[in-house]
């Protein structure tokens, strides 16, 4: 049954997820090639965040299968901690650890999960922080940083685990408009370096620019998925057209 497709970074088959009586995901099929960037758009409540959380196994799924690099992560008896270290996720609200310095935030998991020594983990963390221009903030606590800086630290914290796949859950939605650019620039750079990413976003122009494909999620289904040029200029589905018209009316495209 398990057909191995070596170049596929992520494959989702028939994913269903309900919260009580509310079915949030009603059969999701999606595959990402290695180095591919896919953006998920859709109105709030369409299931974008839930889908990302399911891939990371932060939510238990009701039906369907998920493969990362050909390995089924939804198989019985699989070690979820091993799976999660291959999949990075960045949250809308950053979720940095407020009681730890920036350096400890970034080096905690490499030390405790990958077993790196403190020296090695901190060297790696400092190097990553240096790359985003925040090495001088490494001893500060997250609350001292701006939202944009916190979100970049959160991205670097995920990158420190050297994941195969990065999931971004509306990472600019909690930011002041003037701070959005610095975060998107970092994602642009990651895409340029070939990071495989699945991005839930409301930033349509960013999606158009960065994504290889854009998927429109509506009421728990991927209604339409296409290259951005096609998606934004000639969407096939009526629901997609309506959604994009609303976005345009709101001045967000």
């Amino acid at each position: 049954m398990t057909t191995r497709a070596p170049a596929q970074a992520l494959r989702i088959e028939g994913l269903h997820k309900s919260f009580g009586d509310l079915e949030v995901l009603k059969g999701i099929d999606l595959a990402l090639d290695e180095h591919e960037v896919v953006c998920l758009i859709g109105s709030s409540g369409s299931g974008k965040s839930t889908l990302l959380r399911c891939i990371n196994l932060l939510e238990e799924i009701d039906a369907g299968r998920i493969f990362v690099e050909g390995d089924e992560v939804t198989a019985k008896g699989v070690d979820v901690n091993r799976i999660r270290r291959r999949i990075g996720i960045v949250f809308q609200a950053f979720n940095l650890f407020p009681h730890m310095s920036v350096l400890d935030n970034v080096s905690l998991a490499p030390r405790k999960v990958l077993g790196l020594s403190r020296t090695d983990a901190e060297a790696r963390a400092t190097e990553l922080l240096d790359r985003i221009g925040l090495a001088d903030k490494r001893n500060d606590y997250p609350d001292r940083l701006s939202g944009g800086q916190q979100q970049r630290v959160a991205i670097v914290r995920a990158l420190a685990m050297q994941p195969d796949l990065l999931l971004l859950d509306e990472i600019t939605s909690a930011l002041d408009p003037e701070l959005v650019a610095e975060v998107l620039n970092l994602i642009r750079e990651l895409a340029g370096n070939g990071m495989t990413m699945l991005i839930a976003t409301h930033e349509m122009s960013f999606a158009r620019e960065i994504a290889n494909r854009v998927g429109f999620l509506d009421a728990g289904r991927i209604l339409e998925i296409a290259p951005p040029a096609e998606m934004f200029s000639a969407p096939r589905e009526e629901r997609t057209q309506q959604f994009l018209q609303r976005v345009i009316a709101a001045g967000r495209l």
């Binding site: 932060l58 901690n81 091993r82 999660r84 270290r85 990075g88 999960v113 606590y141």
Partner: protein, 294 residues
């Protein structure tokens, strides 16, 4: 006695205003007004306490009361024994606190474990807390102190001090585990999600992310329980441990005088109040470190 400086700033007295923290800046007063309000505070304090002192000392039986409760010579002669007995109370609560801190945390974590597999652990932990919070401490002390040595089992200590520590630990772990649990539940679930998403196991997430944040939040109520524990060490007197209260009773019986109990009250004040201030200061310092002077 004078209270030096300016008008009393309650924040400063309590030590809530840590360095760099969200400090309420004192209202700048013109020098004349500052002197005036200090004088008013001083005079009002002297008048109120003066009137109280006069009323009490002019009561018809004051000389008797003074002799029975505030007797200098008796205090002086019994002081060494009181201090020695106080050492027993300190040993009781220090040992108990050191045992309670980890044990109560284990209880709190057991109670919070999800899933059907851990149901028996949750059940046990819940029953434990219900039981030891419901039964009066003094009864637990009595039953353990007299009951277990009474079984005559080989290898079971008969030392009443030992059973006093055990009883206090069992009772107060129930309270403290609830404090921990409240702290753990107050940490937003997204913190656990972030930790688990990085590949940390459930225990690692608790150990490095959830519990450190929880403990910071519950230090004031934790101190509350520990002050209660310190006071309750006198209950251990019921199984014959010669601690402060028991020593006071012995002196009272010998000399028909209550002065030792005044000394006991003062001793507990002397250890508790500085501890509360130091804790306030620690909490404020920690908060100041985390929250920016943005």
């Amino acid at each position: 006695m004078t209270i030096g400086g300016g008008p009393i700033d309650s924040g400063e007295l309590i030590g809530l205003a840590g360095r760099g923290g969200p400090r309420r800046s004192p209202r700048r007063m013109p020098p004349g007004e500052a002197v005036r309000s200090t004088l008013i505070a001083l005079v009002s304090t002297i008048v109120i306490f003066g009137v109280l002192a006069v009323v009490i000392t002019s009561s018809p039986n004051w000389p008797d009361v003074q002799d029975k409760f505030f007797n200098g010579p008796i205090l002086a002669s019994s002081w060494p024994k009181i201090i020695e007995a106080f050492g027993t109370n300190i040993a009781l609560f220090v040992i108990a606190e050191l045992l309670i801190l980890p044990f109560a945390l284990v209880l709190a974590i057991l109670r919070g474990l999800p899933g059907p597999v851990f149901f028996p652990f949750r059940l046990l932990a819940t029953f434990y807390v219900d039981f030891f919070r419901a039964v009066p401490s003094v009864v637990i002390i009595y039953l353990l102190g007299f009951g277990i040595p009474g079984l005559g089992l080989a290898g079971v200590p008969e030392d009443t001090f030992f059973w006093g520590v055990v009883a206090l630990t069992l009772v107060y772990s129930a309270y403290v585990s609830e404090v921990y649990r409240a702290g753990i539940e107050s940490v937003h679930w997204s913190q656990e999600a972030a930790a688990r998403s990085l590949g940390l196991s459930r225990l690692q997430a608790l150990r490095f992310v959830i519990v450190p944040q929880a403990i910071r939040r519950v230090i004031p109520p934790l101190l509350n329980d520990f002050i209660g524990l310190q006071k309750d060490t006198v209950l251990v007197s019921v199984i014959g441990v010669v601690e402060l209260f028991r020593e006071g009773q012995i002196i009272k019986a010998a000399k028909f005088n209550f002065t030792p109990f005044i000394a006991i009250a003062v001793l507990f004040l002397v250890i508790t109040i500085p501890l509360a201030r130091v804790t306030d200061w620690l909490v404020a310092r920690d908060r100041a470190r985390q929250v920016a002077g943005r």
